[in-house]
């Protein structure tokens, strides 16, 4: 295991707290985020970008009564830390008095998860990542296509201290291998694997999956836009969860009236259950949020019914309840987000999911999705890297990519079957564990040329 304790981080945070206290802060919170990020990128079956970064960010939230000032720096000498406190304090004191109390969280026992970090990822070398890239490239070569992708190995050490007594620190690692295999005519296939421990990623298998899908995507035909039943692979399903999490599962979105989310409201089929659970070892476990609050398991949707949104300290105070441990670094005008979503598995094999389509589409993943109407969760985007026509339960061949304009809430309501296999994937909100889904109707509104 990577050491969860880095005395330097908490000591750094304590030093900033002392500066804030000396400047008269009524409350203060310090986040120290140390990162060692490495990424090897390949395209046209060769490594073309290969980077490493080492950084330490120190964030201070300085509270003066009902006024808050935030400042950050990546300088860690004492003069810089004093300037940090002075900046945040000066900002706070120039603010107009707020109309609500500021609620930093108080200390609560943290049950540290085991499995937030892996030493192999923390110590991954450029040679290890290059070897993985070569395995992906070899799989592409064997199929007569080219490989494009990246292999990430990240180490983050998070430490938090606040003036109410919160002390928390944890090492976290993350690794992710993504691959697009592409043939001479542009036919493409996608595969991805992600894990806390990079040695659990089978690069050759990822390469083979993408390459085989690219081969099967050759010579696509056009199908007309319209409503189709679909099977969405997990790579597409993760976008559904991310977008719903972004648009609706945040307590701030609910409090501002811009969310579809209401406890007790039916938004999905009875087959749909989504929780946010940072303790599940099948996900990317972490123990506390960026306010130092222990992560809680939050049932977001149970059997299609909205249950709870996620809260940070401030939205919880407004609602008269406790934070669920979903705070982000201050200042955060966007509110809390679920960063560890897990969708319950069903009992259908992939063949059974596809077998249930009489005339429909198998979609590998989505591209460039964006909300058209946030409250109705209407989203537009494209299919990409492997879209296939299914007739009478069998994949009959590739089709050109389609644009959809679809309410993701209606998609959840239309879930007919859920896959029993799940994948850990990284979307734009965090790491999610998701199955494939069969959905009764999905609205495709346009087509493209490939």
């Amino acid at each position: 295991m990577v050491s969860e304790r880095d005395p330097g981080s908490l000591e750094l945070a304590e030093r900033v707290l002392r500066h804030a206290d000396a400047l008269g802060a009524t409350q203060a919170e310090v986040l120290v985020d140390q990162t060692e990020s490495r990424l090897t990128r390949f395209a046209n079956s060769e490594i073309h970008q290969n980077v490493a970064e080492s950084n330490t960010m120190v964030n201070l939230r300085f509270v003066d009564g009902r006024r808050v000032g935030c400042a950050s720096t990546n300088r860690t000498d004492d003069a810089a830390l004093r300037r940090l406190a002075e900046s945040a304090g000066r900002i706070a004191r120039l603010m107009p008095e707020g109309d609500e109390d500021v609620h930093l969280p108080g200390p609560a026992p943290i049950a540290y998860v085991h499995g937030a970090a892996a030493v192999a990822t923390a110590e991954a070398t450029p040679e290890l990542r290059a070897a993985a890239a070569r395995e992906v490239i070899a799989a592409a070569d064997a199929s007569g296509v080219q490989a494009y992708g990246s292999f990430t190995t990240d180490l983050e050490h998070v430490a938090l201290a606040n003036s109410l007594g919160v002390r928390a620190q944890e090492a976290r690692t993350w690794s992710q291998l993504i691959t697009v295999a592409m043939g001479a005519a542009g036919e493409a296939g996608y595969a991805e694997a992600a894990a806390v421990d990079c040695t659990s990623i089978d690069a050759a298998a990822v390469g083979r999956e993408a390459a085989e899908k690219a081969r099967s995507a050759r010579e696509p035909v056009s199908v007309p836009p319209g409503d189709y039943p679909v099977v969405l692979e997990p790579y597409a399903v993760v976008d559904l969860l991310d977008m719903l999490g972004y648009l609706g599962f945040s307590a701030l979105a609910v409090q501002e009236g811009r969310s579809f989310f209401e406890p007790g409201k039916v938004i999905g089929s009875p087959l749909v259950t989504i929780v946010d659970d940072a303790e599940d070892l099948a996900g990317a476990p972490i123990s506390f949020d960026y306010e130092g609050v222990p992560k809680q398991r939050v049932p977001l949707v149970e059997a299609g019914v909205c249950r709870e949104a996620v809260y940070d300290a401030q939205t919880a105070a407004r609602a008269g309840r406790r934070s669920t441990g979903h705070g982000l670094p201050a200042p955060n005008p966007y509110g809390p987000f679920p960063l560890n979503m897990i969708m319950s598995a069903g009992d259908a094999s992939r063949d059974e999911l596809v077998g249930g389509l009489d005339h429909g589409l198998l979609v590998t993943r989505f591209h460039y999705t964006n909300p058209v109407h946030p409250k109705l969760a209407i989203v537009t985007g494209m299919t990409r890297d492997g879209t296939f026509l299914v007739e009478h339960g069998r994949v009959v061949g590739p089709v050109r990519n389609l644009r959809f304009t679809q309410s993701y809430l209606d998609a959840l309501a239309g879930v007919q079957a859920v896959g029993r296999e799940r994948r850990l994937l990284r979307g734009f909100l965090g790491a999610s564990l998701v199955p494939a889904l069969r959905i009764g109707a999905f609205t495709f509104t346009g087509a493209t040329e490939h």
Binding site: S45, V68, A88, M95, P333, R403, S407, G446, T448
Partner: protein
């Protein structure tokens, strides 16, 4: 700190780099967020560090650190060389850079009123006044005002003799009113833009003076009928046309994307080199340039992050595709020299080919109002609300905040949730009017994502407004 940059270059070369460059950057950022009368967040951030990029055995390596010491310069240079050697184990083409004389000099964004010197109290006061103006409109659901300022001091040095120093300042602001009724929510914003310059740019926006209009229009949208599906003429206001340029011209003209280096993330491009000089991108009215020299643009600088001087590069001339955004590595592949479009998001990122200011040039003849008056039937669309385009930049769909029916040359019925969609070259080919300079506006897009690890680009777009025929609008089920 020339000692650090010199040391990093020396160590890289001593360890086998045939080329090396180093960027040392300090960035200061200030942001203010106001929500419904409440100051939601005010922050000031500083980040400083350096990144060493090397070529070894024809392969790239890069390492960056926030520790500004000579020892760390040695360590990062050595790490970059080690990474490059690992890259070389999976290399099929050695990188070749274009040959050019060393760059030397300094550049500074012209600023009248230093946004970092002005008191936070004063800026918050201005923004609260705009928020209050919006909230005076009865029935408005919630409001937001955001302000951002960023200044970068960066030194670029390379093993082939370049040394340039730049100080670049950007500011941006938006006010936003949201009207809510049951499941419906309508947003109206102004101007959601940014510029190179000082606080004078924010002052000129007159945010408070526009607050009531913005909020009133949000309320009007709530009761407006849904935009009907149809094929019709579309007139794009500059506040939407800039985003059309960004997605369907700026990105596909990035030559790294064309050569597949973004294929696993953002995709590739339909603008392949075999069509350079001949491919019909749009109608003869379309002239688009990448201009890093225009005052006030988010894509304006002295030199790019490879030490290549700012330039004005034609991308589309009279509707034909004639140029790309290029780097020292990619330009020689089309027989050209770098157009100076390599930009990095801070000290800890490598430079990538990014947009500078991608501008659709105005055409003398018709004003924007003349174009509206000249249109028998159509839709006038303003202010981008959402965007999406496929992985080769062909099939796009945009939503705007406002859509008005145009009938007999007059602006009439307001529609909500307007959308339009098309195929890039067909759409630009259907353009039969581009407005003159009277409505020409330089917009700033401070949130252009690209690359892995992700980089946020600040890019500019000039547009005066244009008309397009036979466009599908009103997409989706409502």
């Amino acid at each position: 700190m020339p000692e650090l940059t010199d040391r990093a270059l020396d160590t890289a070369v001593q360890r086998g780099a045939t080329f090396a460059d180093v960027r040392q950057t300090r960035r200061a950022e200030e942001s203010i967020a106001i929500k419904s009368g409440r100051v939601e967040g005010v922050s000031f951030g500083e980040s400083e560090g350096f990144g060493v990029r090397v070529l070894v055995d024809g392969a790239w390596g890069f390492a960056a650190s926030n520790r500004l010491t000579v020892a760390e310069a040695d360590r990062m240079a050595a790490e970059a060389v080690r990474i490059a050697r690992a890259s070389a184990t999976a290399l099929r083409h050695r990188v070749q850079l274009d040959d050019r004389p060393p760059a030397r000099g300094t550049y500074q964004t012209p600023v009248v009123e230093d946004p970092f010197a002005l008191s936070v109290e004063r800026k918050v006061g201005d923004l609260l006044a705009a928020d209050e103006a919006m909230r005076r409109v009865p029935g408005i659901g919630f409001t937001e005002v955001r302000y951002d300022a960023q200044r970068e001091w960066k030194t670029y040095a390379s093993s082939d003799g370049s040394l340039v120093e730049q100080e670049i300042t950007h500011v941006g602001a938006v006010i936003e009113a949201n009207a809510v009724n049951g499941d419906d929510m309508q947003r109206r914003s102004y101007p959601d833009s940014a510029a190179a310059g000082g606080y004078e740019w924010v002052r000129d926006l007159d945010l408070a003076g526009n607050g009531e209009r913005v909020a009133s229009e949000a309320m009007q949208l709530l009761v407006a009928p849904q935009c009907p599906p149809m094929r019709t003429t579309v007139i794009l206001h500059p506040s939407q046309l800039y985003m059309q340029i960004h997605e369907s011209c700026g990105h596909p003209c990035e030559l790294d994307r064309v050569y597949g280096t973004e294929a696993s993330y953002a995709g590739t491009s339909f603008l392949t080199p075999d069509g350079l000089g001949t491919f019909r991108y749009g109608s003869e009215l379309i002239d688009i340039v990448a201009d890093a020299t225009v005052p006030g643009g988010l894509g304006t600088f002295g030199w790019d992050d490879e030490g290549v001087a700012a330039q004005r590069v034609p991308l589309i001339e009279a509707g034909r595709h004639v140029g790309y955004l290029t780097s020292r590595e990619t330009a020689p592949r089309i027989g050209r020299q770098s157009g100076g479009a390599m930009r990095a998001d801070g000290w800890n990122r490598i430079p990538l080919i990014r947009m500078t200011n991608i501008n659709l040039l105005p055409r003398p003849g018709m004003s924007f109002d003349d174009i509206v008056a000249d249109t028998d039937e159509g839709l006038l669309l303003a202010t981008n609300r959402s965007w999406s385009i496929d992985d080769r930049r062909l099939n796009f769909q945009f939503a705007t905040e406002m859509g008005w029916q145009v009938k007999g040359g007059k602006v009439g019925q307001l529609y909500k949730n307007p959308t339009y969609t098309g195929i890039t070259y067909e759409f630009w080919g259907s353009c039969d009017a581009v407005a003159d300079e009277r409505s020409y506006t330089l917009f700033g897009t401070p949130n252009c994502g690209k690359g892995e690890p992700g980089q946020n680009g600040h890019v500019g777009h000039g547009a005066s407004g244009a008309r397009f025929r036979d466009v599908q609008v009103g997409v989706g089920k409502w």
